[in-house]
Amino acid sequence: MADFAWLIPLLPFIGFLINGLLGKSLPKILVAVIGTGAMVASFLLATLIFFSIPQGETIHLNIHLFDFIQAGTIYIPFDFLIDPLSILMILIITGIGSLIHLYSAGYMKEDEGFYKFFAYLNLFVFFMLLLVLGSNYIIMFIGWEGVGLCSYLLIGFWFKNQDYNNAAKKAFIMNRIGDLGFLMGVFFIFGTFGTFTFDEVFSKASLVTEFNQPIFITICLLLFVGATGKSAQIPLFTWLPDAMAGPTPVSALIHAATMVTAGIYMIARSNILFVLAPTALTVIAIVGVATALFAATIGLAQNDIKKVLAYSTVSQLGYMFLALGVGAFSSALFHVMTHAFFKALLFLGAGSVIHAMHHEQDIRRMGGLAKKLPITHLTFLIGTLAIAGLPGLSGFFSKDEILAKAFETNIIYWVLGVIGAILTAFYMFRVYFLTFHGSFRGTHDQAHHLHESPLTMTLPLIVLAVLSIVGGYFNLAPIFGGNAGLEHFLSPVFAAGQAKIHHTNHLSHSTEYLIMAVSVVAVILSIGLAYFTYISKKSVPVEDGDEINGLHKLVYNKYYVDELYDKVFVQPIMYLSTSIYKFVDIVVIDGLVNSIGKGIYALSGILRQLQSGSIGIYVLMMVLGLISILAFNLIP
């Protein structure tokens, strides 16, 4: 069965070709059927492959498609690698992708670029699948840059708005900074191992016994630079909130569920290299937890419903990096999966709200929508509870696993992680209360048109809500009586790396219960505070023009990071480019070239005097000549 895995990316690609080339003349319904159909077919195929793995066995299959590049000592085959990690990723991508395609059919119904939207979306899924299926770093890089391209096209989908174009450009360029790091890392890998193929690199690396060799730290930190770009970590995170300019399904699929987790996938894939560089892992953990906390504080003060979700994505990705940093690779992927469920749900729910509110995204203009949008309200609540980490829901299990692993490594990580969780619960419930409860604060016109979304949009919400509830049980820890199914499934991928990690202090069950209780109590208190603020006291965030005090202002303006980058990087580069052109190119080089020309011209002007044909000058010259000859002869 797995031999047919090459069809999984091919189907969306065919969908892209049909919709991209012919979509303009096709009816919208057909466009939607082709786009969504290709995704569903891929998903079914992925499921079949998953279930074709015999019970208790694992899979590790290399599918050779064709020879891609062959020059000198470089040999790069176009191969796919089917193993538990790639199967998990393709299930998430095609599964969530199918739901979001279906949702888009309703959400984008009125848009004139409908066919283009589906074509781009299919193309994105194609590249994303290439990224996770590639069996070497170069194929991965093709997918890696390809998803960046689609992200660019989709963020700037409504290209008539220059702010959106700015956001698209910023996303692509920031990603490219990361990509350069990734590319350099890949070069170092090639320099060290002489190959790009995962299997060969990792088997050679697993023979290495010495930890923290400089070359491994270099490779891992460079790869991590790539990950910070794609997965929006400090310092390359500012593109993600801006990327919310794209249509909401895009935010759900690309900027929450799939593309932004590519960095986590890449590090998990290369886990053996990172295990050999504990210093790099420490850097990842610190950056991860710092991002988790930093983004969460910004989320507290944002008023755009999608911006809040965006910062929460940045923050949740930070948790995943924290997990990677403490060597809990399967916990990171567990959170990738549950986060894909509840964050896609939250974004689609937000999309449903925005759809009903006629493209209003400001939570200060909403309120009391629970009655008008019952399905959206209920599913959004489930998503909010899941991300807050209420016991029993998917987010609880995955986040708690990460916090427990963090506790094992360093208690400071755990403390910061719990603070982040408290903030998360608060800002998510802030959004929930302000949107769905209280009194309606929008215009009369909006109130009149409020309506629940069509079935194509609510159905994905319901499916995702169910997954957000049960998602945790796919990897239920032994402490809850589960068998850690996902961890077990993924263990062959991480076996070599885990063998090198020395687990010193395993937590006792009582400690584990205790730290769990602490975070649950803290989260519930935080929800209570949100309830007190936004329901009991009915407070609404202040309007844009109003005075706000120091700290609030700092957070509201996202710590002025964008302004800082503009002053430190963008403006100097622009200044440099103009001055290089105006000074070096025009004045120095061309000035030199032109003055050589002018010099020769001037010189010939002087020499020409000798040939002027004027008798007077010839006579003068002759006289001068005679005088000088005489003069020379007279001097002894």
Binding site: Q70, A71, I74, K160, I173, L576, S577, T578, Y581
Partner: protein
């Protein structure tokens, strides 16, 4: 006349037809030119068909004695008519015939002085292809120089407002470069011999020609050959053989004379380097290119960017690196430095441009910098990458200049800030521009990526392969990739996205229609090829890489 000669000289026949046609038949000129270039294209495909991909050396050789000069006491100078193909030039020859075909279609609307235009155009095809095929340095130089003549007139007569300045600048700049090549050539002509012809002069015979060559070379080292019998040569392959150099001459390998701290071979290498870098062009001898592009008409810009620049980088490989591999290693750092500076410096300049064509001209310099870096690193991967990049840039830059031509034809204005939101008015044009820009900024899936990644990898690994350059050059060059994303995306945003707006309101907005049929039939194939070679690079690499690996080996083992 064999196929390669036919490939070079077929256009002369077409010129003859155009010349005898009376003026009132001027519509036929372009048709004849199109037929001629199409025939050349087909011939080049036949060459591919006859080419043995597994044999890395020169094939389909055509070689005749052409000029033999008796230099009395100095012996003879024998100049050959010598054509042949291998991995270095075959792909470039096919690229040339293809682009010349595209160029004719792009010239379809040339009315003014059409007879002269198409005659010069055909002359240009002959000299560019001749330059790629010639294997005797003299013949190569002849074609290399002859290109200037049609190009000078094509820019100077059918160009923009400042065309005369641009044409003369182009002419003098490249001519100055060529003088350096000429000096190098004179030096080479008195330093090495052709062993077989020398044997003939000495009335030597041998069992096989290999024996004979060994015998002559042996005697040459022992200085037993009388000076009168020496047959000097400019055959590039003979010049690359160390044992063909006459002991005690300036350019012999063991000459220890030093001038300003440089050996004579080093000086010759530097002369060739300057000469070819002017044509590439590389920092700091690049300033003719933006001016020439801005003033040249669209088809001529296409030929200039796509093909003429490649003769420079090709010359570097074929002449400088093949004849002076020892110096190539010695000065690798210099070549690489110029390459990296070109990449970054030109990218910065591109960022500052408001004239779209000038922006693309600078991006051309930046992308040719990668070729220079690839050549400098001189590993099998980086040279393959450099040749691949030449072909890829040939395709992409042709499309880029054609795309600029589209707006210029309609409004006679190329300023980026004169347009906004073209996407809503010209969707197909915008789509093709977006694709081409992304291809040029090196997005995987397009040919630009393959060339750049091979070059960077090769340059990165060079220090462990041959030790010519350090990995830091590759690291520096990657910043060029970042800057190229910046200037292309910024241009897209300013010109194509946003609400539709043009400087001259309703007048222009009527003129700005989407691509015509003629524009489509030349742009679609180019876009197709960018993607084809991006997905299946082995189509080119199979031709290129065996020869490049051989050259890299030759340089290391000099």
């Amino acid at each position: 006349m064999d196929i390669l000669s036919l490939l070079v000289f077929a256009p002369l026949l077409a010129i003859f037809f155009i010349l005898i046609l009376p003026h009132n038949q001027s519509n036929f000129y372009k048709n004849i030119t199109l037929v001629s270039t199409s025939i050349q294209f087909l011939l080049s495909l036949i060459v591919i068909n006859r080419f043995d991909f597994s044999y890395p050396k020169i094939q389909l050789v055509e070689k005749f004695d052409w000029i033999t000069i008796n230099m009395q006491s100095l012996g003879y100078l024998s100049i050959d008519y010598y054509l042949g193909v291998d991995g270095l030039n075959l792909a470039l020859v096919v690229l040339s015939t293809f682009i010349f075909m595209i160029g004719v279609v792009a010239s379809w609307n040339v009315k003014e002085n059409a007879k002269a235009y198409f005659c010069l155009y055909l002359l240009l095809t002959a000299s560019v292809i001749g330059c790629f095929l010639a294997l005797d340095l003299f013949l190569f130089f002849l074609f290399f120089e002859f290109m200037l003549l049609p190009m000078y007139f094509l820019i100077g007569m059918w160009g923009g407002p400042r065309r005369e300045y641009a044409a003369i600048k182009f002419f003098l700049y490249t001519l100055a470069g060529s003088i350096f090549i000429l000096i190098a050539m004179i030096g080479l002509s008195i330093s090495a011999i052709e062993p077989l012809e020398t044997a003939e002069q000495m009335n030597l015979t041998g069992e096989t020609s290999a024996d004979l060559i060994a015998n002559v070379q042996n005697q040459l080292q022992l200085q037993k050959i009388p000076k009168k019998a020496l047959v000097h040569t400019l055959d590039i392959l003979q010049l690359s053989d160390k044992s063909n150099y006459i002991k005690g001459t300036w350019l012999s390998w063991d000459n220890e004379t030093v001038l300003w701290g440089l050996s004579a071979r080093a000086i010759v290498f530097l002369l060739l380097l300057i000469g070819f870098l002017v044509k590439v062009p590389s920092f700091p001898v690049h300033t003719w290119l933006p001016d020439a592009h801005v003033e040249a008409s669209t088809p001529i810009s296409v030929i200039l960017a796509s093909l003429l620049l490649k003769t420079g980088s090709y010359g570097l490989l074929r002449v400088a690196y093949t004849i002076l591999p020892d110096q190539a290693i010695e000065f690798g750092w210099l070549v690489a430095t110029l390459g990296v500076i070109s990449i970054i410096y030109a990218a910065y300049n591109a960022l500052a441009m408001n004239d779209l064509k000038k922006m693309i001209a600078y991006s051309s310099i930046s992308h040719m910098g990668f070729v220079v870096l690839g050549i400098a690193a001189a590993t099998a991967e980086s040279i393959s990458g450099a040749v691949f990049q030449m072909v890829s840039h040939g395709i992409i830059s042709a499309a880029l200049f054609l795309l600029v031509g589209v707006v210029y034809d309609r409004t006679h204005n190329r300023n980026i800030d004169s347009y906004r939101g073209l996407a809503s008015k010209m969707p197909i044009y915008t789509t093709l521009t977006v694709i081409t820009f992304f291809a040029s900024l090196g997005l995987p899936g397009f040919s630009g990526f393959i060339g750049e990644v091979l070059i960077l990898l090769g340059a990165f690994a060079a220090h462990s392969h041959n030790g010519i350059i350090s990995s830091w050059f590759a690291v520096g060059a990657t910043f060029g990739i970042l800057l190229s994303a910046a200037y292309y995306l910024w241009t897209l945003q300013r010109m194509f996205f946003g609400k539709f707006w043009v400087k001259n309101g309703s007048l222009w907005s009527k003129k700005l229609t989407d691509l015509t049929f003629q524009e489509r039939i030349i742009l679609f194939p180019l876009v197709f090829l960018m993607i084809l070679f991006g997905l299946f690079p082995h189509l080119i690499l199979n031709i290129v890489s065996p020869t490049c690996a051989l050259l890299a080996d030759f340089i290391i083992n000099r």
